[in-house]
């Protein structure tokens, strides 16, 4: 399996093939429903969001709390399609990669092509396995959302499958 180093770039994305199994290395953000809504509402109101999305990859997850001495708890992907209505706007603001599970809407498929982005799936329901691929985790925004806060995760050989290009 090919190692892909984050942050993603359009040049890296050009080398990806649909259905290719890869290992992600580097760091990405986490965000799910509540964070997507807040990011979108903020952008729409013309205000600044607390993170830059330029060249970023978002992993759709809401981890379980980390046990003492552990980096993170169980952290598998959540269903990506719930983020569909928010995704085109985030792509417009520079988001380039997404990791989750399941199919995406037609609009998201088109937006991914338009912006030269990439959507990966990873293994749903394998949160314990995936937690071992996470080397650091830090809440960087929306702490009040608890498990739905935005984290920055550093990962090593995080398995993913290229799903939409």
């Amino acid at each position: 399996m090919r190692k892909i180093f984050l942050p993603l770039t359009k040049d890296i994305i050009k080398t990806l093939k649909q259905g290719e199994q890869v290992l992600l290395n580097g760091s990405f953000l986490t965000a799910r429903d509540a964070a997507h809504k807040r990011l979108t509402d903020t952008l729409k109101s013309g205000k600044r969001i607390p993170v830059s999305l330029k060249g970023e990859t978002i992993y759709y997850t809401g981890p379980t709390p980390a046990k003492t001495g552990e980096v993170i708890g169980s952290c598998g992907p959540t269903t990506s399609s719930r983020m569909d209505s928010f995704t085109p706007l985030l792509l417009k603001y520079g988001l380039i990669g997404m990791v989750g599970k399941g199919e995406r809407s037609k609009e998201v498929n088109l937006a991914i092509k338009k912006y030269g982005a990439a959507y990966f799936i990873t293994i749903g329901g394998a949160g314990a396995y995936l937690s071992e691929k996470v080397k650091s985790a830090e809440v960087i925004a929306y702490k009040d959302l608890g498990p739905e806060a935005i984290y920055r995760l550093t990962v090593e050989d995080f398995p993913a499958i290229v799903n939409i290009l």
Partner: protein, 280 residues
């Protein structure tokens, strides 16, 4: 004979059951996954199942949640009519849930109000169903079901004159539409009969049945077999990467119904189907 039971014992049992379901995959489900692994021919599907099987062993060894979506706690209580519970039964159940989610480092996934949506940070309240049965014991069944699969579950009110093949088509279409969202390979619980709510309830409890065990009714066992075959011919496969196993099993529960109706509920459960029960 009347028996007195301290509600603290119920609290402890609820706590233990939720810690167990969230960290130790049901042995029948694990066996089903291993069998599915043998049946796969594509390397990608084999890889996905290997990861899922490895996930179960990591979770068990580290006492870590199998899946980060540790669910909204659903508890079924069947209370013997000759049992006297000392203390507050429902409060004890809720306390057991709260303790399990805290001690197990499970995710608090419950919001206080469906529209205001503020996390309660305790995974409370649970959903509790109670029933009164003969005897002086209490049977406790728990489910921790993630919402990836809950969100794609469905109910349809058929006409009494609709055919079994109409029902099969509805179930297969539900699975097809769900695609890879509910974390296949799935376990499908079906409830047929009763009322709107009864059918859903039947479909929820159907997934308690051990995988591979058929209905005791011949015509229902036949339906289960037929649906499983059709669902697997969709080839959605593990994680949705295409493959031979989209569902590990189908469990149908039935109940008498009204002359004017034929409710059918489809409860899709992910490969991390988390149920357990105990009797005190």
């Amino acid at each position: 004979m009347t028996r007195i039971l301290d509600s603290k014992l119920i609290q402890d049992e609820v706590k233990d059951l939720f810690i167990k379901v969230n960290t130790c995959l049901r042995p029948d489900i694990l066996s089903g996954l291993k069998l599915a692994r043998k049946k796969e021919t594509s390397e990608k599907a084999k890889y996905c199942l290997d990861v899922i099987i490895k996930n179960a062993s990591i979770a068990k060894k580290k006492m870590l949640a199998i899946c980060q979506d540790t669910g909204m706690a659903v508890v079924y209580l069947r209370v013997g009519q000759s049992l006297v519970v000392k203390g507050d039964l429902k409060k004890s159940v809720a306390k057991g849930v709260a303790l399990a989610y805290k001690k197990g480092y499970f995710r608090s996934s419950v919001v206080n109000d469906p529209l205001i949506r503020k996390n309660t940070n305790t995974n409370l309240p649970p959903i509790i169903y109670t029933d009164i049965v003969p005897g002086n014991k209490i049977n406790i069944k728990v489910v921790a079901k993630g919402f990836g699969c809950e969100n794609v579950s469905k109910i349809r009110m058929f006409k009494p004159t609709d055919s079994v093949s109409n029902i099969e088509e509805f179930i297969v279409d539900t699975v097809k539409e769900a695609g890879s969202r509910p974390c296949p390979p799935i376990y499908i619980g079906i409830g047929i009969g009763g009322t709107l709510d009864k059918a859903v309830s039947l479909s929820k409890e159907a997934i308690f049945r051990p995988l591979g065990k058929s209905s005791k009714y011949k015509h229902i066992a036949q339906l289960e077999k037929s649906v499983l075959k059709k669902v697997n011919s969709l080839k959605i496969g593990p994680v949705g990467v295409r493959g031979n196993t989209t569902a590990l099993g189908v469990s149908v529960s039935t109940y008498p119904t009204h002359i004017a109706g034929l409710p059918v509920a489809v409860n899709i459960s992910c490969h991390a189907t988390r149920t357990a029960e105990a009797t005190i």
